[in-house]
């Protein structure tokens, strides 16, 4: 498809880069004290020394643990071809040990061109695993187990972990278990078997961010794009990167979401706003992306409400201020009536209309039932709670296009 304009090509290139973790994390791995080199050293030493090992990768979600691990593994696969087998499990999918063992055998079978039988029982699968571990150990081949979402394996009886780690200690094998996790709580039984090696993934520093920005956004000269376009694009981009306002925008974003994945998401949003006519990235794109990505869902919900729904919200808030610790639709209706009686509002509607508005609020997620029990109790009597704070409601009413003055007054008075 050669009819794409250079701008479109550049956009596709940038988007492909942003969706490719291998590309993103490569430059962050260069220094010698990076997690990449530490991890690579650990794994490769256990390959060369033919021993068992276990490592834990810790860090907040989206900090690129799996991406770095993938880089390490792909490099090692090139370095030591035919000696590494990688088994990948995810706690989300295989937290059930039966299922996990099946998946392990399936992956082992496809790796070694064996016939996998879905009929194999748990026992057969675990015997198969132990046999494979032994065989691989004898052949000096390393099996790397990657356990993503490690927390979920550590829940419950932990039979898989226990079996696996136990097998590693008893059998002459050669395996590396790498756990990847975001949480912190841990079971004793597992930790006693797991080595204490941990790698911590921290949010990127300012320099890293700067490096990433240049690495991702600058167009390469040898990609088949017209040279003058690339030069123009890159100079404009350099100007933006040097701009103080840009730095400010990036800082406001990083103050809220600081992991690399979040940052990539933001860049993706900015890049997709690129104007294809001019084909240049502008400061505007970064600004709009910031406002688009940082939403205030509750405020938006309040803005979407009809006036009757606002009345109900204010009534609930009033009840809360009056320290009624639990309330339901009927008590809210009573409050609504008393508001109407004392202020003579023009918006007084029948009960069934209010009930529908109440249900709309439930749908919007502004209020919710306190308990999930009481299914046979009708909606009117089930206790509810507000999911927005006083301040949010107040702000929401202020920014509402045509908020009735009476509601504002009530809210001001309650303050």
């Amino acid at each position: 498809m050669g009819r794409e304009s250079p701008a479109e090509k550049a956009l596709i290139l940038l988007r492909t880069r942003l969706c490719d973790p291998n590309f993103i994390f490569r430059p962050l791995c260069e220094s010698s004290d990076s997690n990449y080199s530490k991890l690579k050293f650990l794994v490769s030493s256990s390959i060369t020394e033919a021993c068992n090992n276990s490592i834990l990768l810790l860090g907040p979600r989206g900090s690129g643990k799996i991406a770095v691990l993938d880089l390490v593994i792909s490099d090692l696969l090139q370095e030591y071809p035919d000696t590494i087998t990688v088994i990948r499990l995810s706690g989300l999918l295989h937290s059930d040990e039966n299922c996990a063992l099946k998946e392990i055998s399936r992956q082992l079978c496809t790796e070694h061109q064996l016939l996998f039988s879905k009929m194999a029982s748990f026992d057969e699968n675990s015997q198969f695993l132990i046999a494979m571990l032994r065989e691989c150990g004898l052949a000096h081949k390393t099996i790397i187990f990657v356990l993503d979402e490690f927390d979920l394996f550590a829940l419950g009886k932990q039979r898989l972990l226990y079996n696996l780690l136990d097998a590693l200690q008893s059998v002459t094998s050669q395996a590396v278990v790498i756990g990847v996790r975001c949480g912190s709580a841990f079971g004793k039984r597992v930790i006693s078997r797991f080595s204490n090696r941990k790698l911590l993934f921290l949010p990127p520093s300012k320099e890293d961010i700067q490096r990433l920005l240049e690495h991702i956004l600058l167009l390469p000269t040898d990609s088949g794009l017209p040279t003058d376009y690339v030069v123009e694009f890159n100079t404009k981009l350099q100007n933006i990167l040097a701009d103080e306002r840009f730095e400010e925008i990036i800082n406001t974003y990083l103050n809220i979401d600081s992991t690399i994945k979040d940052f990539l998401r933001y860049l993706f949003r900015s890049v997709s706003n690129m104007d294809l006519q001019s084909g240049m990235l502008l400061l505007e794109n970064f600004k709009t992306a910031l406002s688009n990505i940082q939403r205030h869902p509750k405020m938006e919900c309040i803005k979407d409400c009809s006036i009757l729904e606002l009345y109900i919200l204010v009534c609930m808030k009033r009840l809360e201020v009056k320290e009624h610790n639990s309330y339901n639709f009927t008590t809210v209706m009573k409050e609504y009536k008393s508001v109407h009686d004392s202020f003579q509002t023009s918006d007084y509607y029948a009960k069934n209309v209010c009930l529908r508005a109440f249900e709309h609020l439930l749908q919007r997620g502004l209020i919710e039932f306190i308990d999930n029990r009481g299914q046979n109790q009708s909606v009117e009597y089930r206790p509810v709670k507000l999911l927005i704070s006083f301040h949010q409601l107040h702000q929401g009413l202020k920014s509402y296009r045509s908020c009735p003055a009476i509601l504002q007054k009530i809210m001001d008075r309650e303050k």
């Binding site: 969706c19 989206g62 990505i293 938006e300």
Partner: protein, 667 residues
């Protein structure tokens, strides 16, 4: 078995066309079929020898010993397994044909039963000069949900074409043939231009990967239709699955896989899915397999394309759309499914896959203890009043007239709700009302006419506001009913519409039962004795009230409690006792003059009152006037609760002239 019975009956009633519905398996009325989980399948340890077929699952088989049937496909003996239910073995069913004479029918059916070669139904009917059997008409469904039917008016054509030809990747594109410009797209959604632009930007140019998008906004803000129309405009292949119609993980997984494997459920494959898939882990494996096969050889798929179809899939991206995502929260194990879906992009690691989530609620309502990297949010706000006007104006014959109508009604109604669907249904009736004085609907209203119409229409607005959500069972009579109602509601200053007559029919005993249920729910059980003594209990009530007046505060909290707790529950015995009391009081001619009048009528009906009272109770339960609650842990009997509002109860009481307020305990 079924075929046999059919054969017997066919010759008895040759003239009459018997009505049969074909059932594939037995349907038990008392219990439901249980689905066997993959984990529950018992697998024996038999080893089958090809030469000695007797060795397969014989008497020493574990499953035979435990009286369990081997599951086909899982038994190690495979097709040789003998531990199978005899009727599970698939055999060619005899073709059922209708004969002119009895003897020939018998002869023919015997022949067919012995000849097991699969005779094509068409051949069979063609070869024999007999009345062709009515084969059940199989309605061929599209794999898409009906939402799509709205957008693409050539769905029907598509399905017809597909019945002949092999499905291709292009079936994942809708709206083939016609081009659909961006301007058309924007103009069909008033007030949503910036959001559509944003969506197109996020989807990016052809063949560009994307991060997951999360589209959210209130109901009826056009989330689904905007996404689908955008894809129609872009002509890119996508897989749509709504969590509303796919109401559990398995159905959702299988529907996605069916669409990806270009598999269509039909009679030939017994309406089965492409893959049996229950677990998330299987789903991810199958999904990867399907995506690799589709992305790997799109060219090969396209070569089988017939020349008629011009709608080609653009690019090599596949988009998965998950609609109504908020439903998943209510599922069994919904949180794991949610975290699976949100992490799907990272799990698959395939840049050719785009994920789009559509949800009613904002992303912050999806809190899970697992966490995930949030997808790109895209917010569709509710329509403003102007947009609402524009949308409602579409498809109106007389735009001028409708504008003047909207200028009257839109403002007050949008204070109550801003949902297009609710407004349009409310307005459709009101507009008829508005047009009543006009004879010619094509007229362009001038200022004077508008004023006249407004003055005639104005009294209807306020009551209509309070009826906006009322579901009318008979839309034709609604308009007439409306004429009566305004008077009622104007008299009631509150605006509650309380019609004097009941708008439903109910037997007298059912009414009494309803009232007694209402009393049982409302009054404390301890006061029953004093309220329902022989004198009717009005004296006692006064004394009670004086006591409660002493402490106002206590009264208030009690009232609060009543509002919070709602109507109480009661056992059936209490209901029956109250029922007996009030019916016997009603019979008493000395009690009240009013009741004496129709006391006769009640007495007549009373003979049968007690006999079918339980039946009445069940029918009241069915009509949702009384709800069956959980059983009381101490007594063990089922408890009931009345859901009738006080207004309604008073109305019912008035219709049978029962002094309800006398028995109502007021705090």
């Amino acid at each position: 078995m079924e075929s046999e019975t059919m054969l017997c009956t066919t010759d008895q009633c040759v003239e009459q066309e018997p009505q049969y519905t074909h059932i594939d398996r037995n349907e038990f009325s008392q219990r439901r079929h249980k689905k066997q989980e993959e984990e529950e399948i018992l697998i024996c340890e038999c080893k089958c020898d090809e030469k000695d077929l007797e060795s397969a699952c014989g008497e020493r088989c574990l499953n035979v010993l435990t009286s369990t049937q081997c599951t086909p496909g899982y038994c190690p003996c495979g097709v040789y397994c003998k531990n199978q239910n005899s009727d599970m073995v698939k055999e060619e069913r005899p073709q059922i044909t209708r004969r002119a004479t009895r003897s020939s029918a018998l002869a023919k059916s015997v022949v067919e039963e012995t000849d097991t070669s699969s005779q094509h139904p068409n051949d069979a009917s063609a070869s024999s000069d007999i009345i062709k059997e009515e084969s059940p008409q199989i309605s061929r469904r599209t794999t898409r949900s009906s939402v799509l039917a709205k957008c693409s008016n050539n769905v029907v054509e598509e399905t017809d074409a597909n019945s002949q030809q092999q499905p291709t990747l292009d079936d994942l594109v809708i709206g083939e043939g016609e081009s659909f410009s961006f301007d058309d797209l924007v103009s069909s959604f008033p007030g949503k231009e910036s959001q559509i632009k944003e969506l197109v930007h996020l989807l990016g140019p052809q063949n560009s990967p994307m991060l997951p998008i999360f589209i959210y906004g209130g109901s009826s803000t056009g989330k689904t239709s905007i996404v689908l129309q955008t894809f129609r405009h872009l002509k890119r292949p996508f897989v749509y699955s709504s969590c509303l119609t796919c109401y559990n993980p398995r159905i959702m997984f299988e529907s996605i896989l069916n669409q990806l494997f270009l598999h269509r459920k039909k009679a030939e494959n017994g309406y089965s899915s492409a893959k049996r898939c229950e677990r998330p882990s299987d789903f991810v494996n199958f999904l990867r397999e399907a995506l690799v096969s589709i992305i790997g050889n799109p060219q090969g798929q396209k070569s089988g394309l017939s020349s008629k179809r011009s709608g080609k899939a653009n690019g090599n991206m596949i988009y998965l759309i998950f609609d109504n995502l908020e439903r998943v929260k209510g599922w069994d194990k919904g949180s794991t499914v949610l975290s699976l879906l949100f992490n799907l992009y990272d799990t698959l690691k395939m840049p050719e896959v785009g994920l789009i989530f559509i949800s009613n609620t904002s992303p912050d309502t999806y809190d899970s203890n697992m966490g995930y990297v949030e997808p790109n949010p895209l917010y569709l706000p509710d329509y403003t009043d102007d947009d609402l006007g524009q949308i409602l104006m579409r498809h109106q014959a007389n735009k001028k007239l409708y504008t003047s109508f909207l200028s009257v009604v839109l403002r007050p109604f949008s204070r109550i709700t801003r949902r297009v669907d609710e407004l349009s249904s409310a307005f459709s009736l009101l507009f008829r009302k508005y047009c009543e004085p006009i004879t010619d609907l094509g007229v362009f209203p001038n200022e004077e006419m508008k004023r006249k119409l407004f003055s005639q229409f104005q009294p209807h607005i306020a009551p209509a506001l309070n009826e906006i959500f009322k579901v009318s069972t008979q839309p034709s009579t609604e308009v007439e009913a409306r004429e009566r109602k305004p008077k009622v509601s104007t008299r009631k200053s509150r605006g509650y519409e309380v019609a004097d007559q009941l708008d439903f029919h109910m037997s007298t005993s059912a009414k009494y039962l309803l009232i007694s249920a209402f009393l049982a729910s409302r009054n404390p059980a301890t006061l029953d004795a004093s309220l329902f003594d022989s004198t009717g209990g009005s004296n006692n009530r006064k004394r009670k009230r004086k006591v409660s007046e002493k402490s106002m505060e206590q009264k208030e909290t009690a009232e609060q409690e009543l509002l919070i707790k709602g109507p109480g529950t009661f056992p059936m015995e209490r209901l029956l006792a109250i029922f007996q009391c009030i019916t016997s009081v009603a019979e008493d001619p000395l009690d009240d003059e009013e009741q004496a009048q129709d006391g006769l009528g009640i007495q007549d009906g009373h003979c049968g009152l007690m006999s079918d009272v339980l039946l009445q109770l069940t029918s009241l339960c069915g009509a949702n006037f009384i709800v069956k609650g959980g059983s009381c842990p101490l007594e063990g009997s089922t408890r009931y609760r009345s859901t009738v509002s006080e207004d309604m109860a008073l109305q019912v009481a008035r219709s049978i002239k029962f002094p309800l307020s006398k028995y109502l305990y007021r705090r």
